[in-house]
């Protein structure tokens, strides 16, 4: 199943007039592809993700899940298709990593019945998928940033949702953990998941994304969408981020100023 935005327009109230974050966006989150969203701070990456999940109603355009508007599907039905990893997850009290991953089974459980053997197997498999089996019994509040992010990703996988929407999954991670997570994302896409994720690391976005959406943050909803290597070019990045950029071999290099 695919998730599509049609002629989507998103805006935030500005001092005089509304600021358009995005206008006339057509976007598809399709199985097997990794789409990255890049853009300056405040350009609407998170707002777009939240709109695609149905947490916000778009002022313009619409979001379709399969052939039907998102609102025609029940919350539980949507939860079985689209899973979300927010930018930050603050956990108010102690719980084990397994308990946290088990929360991902909720869209498959009836209201009163507890999880069965199948659900426990799914949790084990999800933890193994992110190579975090040994963290299962740990209190999530004692995990490092990189470990927690893997456990949270396992929570998404336990849901068995084919589409994964990730909001800056690598921002809080050191380069080793960031690369590890992105390799994992590529594996998941190779296994058929559709991934849409926002990122700040342009070089990594270029390397790990199949497709890219570049938000200009110009207040008029300007954006560019296409193959990652085409969209994430030195010229457009320099313009959008106000930096100097050049391509050395296949590497992006950035300098301050133009």
């Amino acid at each position: 199943m695919t998730l599509r935005a049609e002629q989507l327009g998103l805006k935030v109230p500005g001092p005089r007039a509304d600021r358009w974050l995005i206008r006339e966006l057509d976007l598809e989150v399709a199985p097997g592809t990794v789409t990255v969203i890049v853009g300056p701070n405040g350009s609407g990456k998170t707002t777009l993700l939240r709109t695609l999940l149905g947490l916000l109603d778009p002022p313009e355009g619409r979001v379709l899940l399969g052939d039907q508007p998102l609102s025609h599907h029940s919350l539980r039905a949507r939860a079985r298709v689209c899973a979300w990893l927010p930018q930050r997850t603050e956990l108010p009290w102690a719980m084990t990593a397994r308990e946290l991953v088990m929360l991902g089974r909720a869209p498959h459980l009836s209201a009163l019945a507890g999880p069965g053997k199948h659900d426990h197997d799914q949790v084990t498999a999800a933890l193994a998928r992110v190579r975090a089996e040994e963290l299962g019994a740990r209190d999530v509040r004692t995990l490092s940033g990189g470990e927690l992010q893997r456990v949270l990703l396992a929570r998404l996988l336990a849901t068995k949702a084919p589409l994964l929407l990730l909001d800056e999954p690598t921002t809080a991670l050191d380069i080793g953990h960031a690369l590890g997570l992105l390799e994992l994302v590529r594996e998941l896409a190779a296994a058929g998941h559709g991934v849409l994720m926002s990122m700040h690391e342009l070089e990594l976005a270029r390397r790990y994304g199949d497709r890219a959406l570049l938000l200009r943050g110009d207040g008029a909803g300007g954006h560019a969408i296409g193959a990652a290597k085409q969209i994430l070019q030195p010229g457009s990045l320099a313009e959008v981020f106000g930096v100097g950029a050049e391509l050395v071999g296949e590497q992006l290099r950035f300098t301050t100023g133009r």
Partner: protein, 334 residues
């Protein structure tokens, strides 16, 4: 296996505490005697008149009332903490109990509580629900701990002031003032089968409904929006949880007055024993709430010849506990 064992121990401990509570007070009845009378009662043998009057007419309803009120407050505490994703949120701290009390005092002043038995609990539930609605409205944009607690403090003060002003306006009516004061202090004195009769229905329903919310409350730990992406209807959950808390706190408050801090202490103890999953946390909070209120009432009856409200005992314990918790909580954050 170990889990089943510890649950059985908890239930047995509560029953034993209830048995002990029956022995406390004027009129000498040992635990063995109480149990013997109870066995007779179950076989349909008449108790001697003295035992009949003291044990079965005075103490038993009181003990049962203390237990269901405690269960209601403990459970409401667990639901409130889960709903606000915050271990410091509780009906007492956030002013929900005070709101219930204020609504009842207004009912006393206007004399509408005399009309029918169900009016006082309904008023209390509406008062509690109103404070919850205000809390949600005022904190919808900012969910941090300090802001939530301060909003609760303000609403608590506001509801307290409404009670005080209402009482002051009717101060010349001594009977009313005394009735309201005794009730507000939180007391099981003079409560019996009458209160037990009308309070147990809504409380049992509220407890069952609270347990039925265990899965969405679990999911809220990830944050409201993430819970929504896992199928939780946020608006519906808030409405249901607020109704449940309103009914539980309202009915308990209507029956015995404001008993503070049970909803704060109990879920904490329960969490350390039963874990954070609400499927076990909610029943554990019911059990421990029942035990705590029963203990508070029994202690105040055993230790003080004069009348000391059990609400004062729980507040003494709870105030200290709250400070300790706040210190631990802020040192964790900092």
């Amino acid at each position: 296996m170990i889990r089943a064992l510890s649950w059985s121990i908890a239930v047995l401990a509560l029953l034993l505490a209830a048995g002990l509570a029956l022995t406390v007070g004027p009129g000498e009845f040992g635990l063995a005697e109480v149990l013997a009378h109870l066995a007779d009662k179950l076989r349909g043998v008449e108790s001697p008149p003295m035992a009949e009057a003291i044990l079965w007419q005075l103490r038993l309803p009181r003990v049962l009332l203390a237990m269901i009120v405690g269960a209601a407050l403990g459970c409401a505490g667990a639901v409130t903490q889960g709903l606000f994703r915050n271990p410091l949120a509780s009906p007492g701290v956030l002013g929900i109990s005070t709101g219930a009390a204020a609504a009842v005092v207004i009912g006393f002043a206007l004399g509408i509580d005399e009309q029918a038995l169900w009016i006082t609990p309904v008023l209390a539930a509406v008062g509690a629900g109103l404070i919850l609605a205000l809390l949600f409205g005022l904190t919808v944009r900012r969910r941090d701990l300090a802001y939530l607690l301060l909003t609760g403090v303000a609403l608590n003060a506001l509801a307290g002031a409404v009670s005080t002003v209402t009482l002051a306006l009717f101060l010349d009516r001594h009977a009313l003032a005394q009735k309201a004061m005794t009730w507000m202090l939180g007391s099981f004195d003079g409560r019996g089968f009458l209160q037990l009769g009308w309070a147990s229905g809504p409380i049992v329903l509220g407890l069952l409904a609270a347990w039925a919310l265990h899965r969405p409350l679990d999911l809220l730990v990830l944050g409201e929006e993430t819970a929504a992406t896992l199928g939780v209807d946020r608006g519906r959950l808030r409405l249901l949880a607020a109704t449940v808390v309103g009914v539980l706190v309202g009915t308990a408050t209507a029956a015995v007055g404001a008993i503070g801090f049970v909803g704060l202490i109990v879920p904490h103890l329960a969490r350390s024993l039963a874990g954070q999953a609400h499927v076990r946390l909610i029943p554990a909070s019911m059990l421990m709430g029942a035990a705590l209120v029963l203990a508070a009432d029994t202690l105040s009856r055993a230790l003080t010849p004069m009348f000391v409200a059990p609400g004062a005992v729980t507040s003494l314990l709870g105030g200290v506990f709250f400070l300790w918790l706040l210190r631990r909580q802020t040192s964790e954050v900092g």
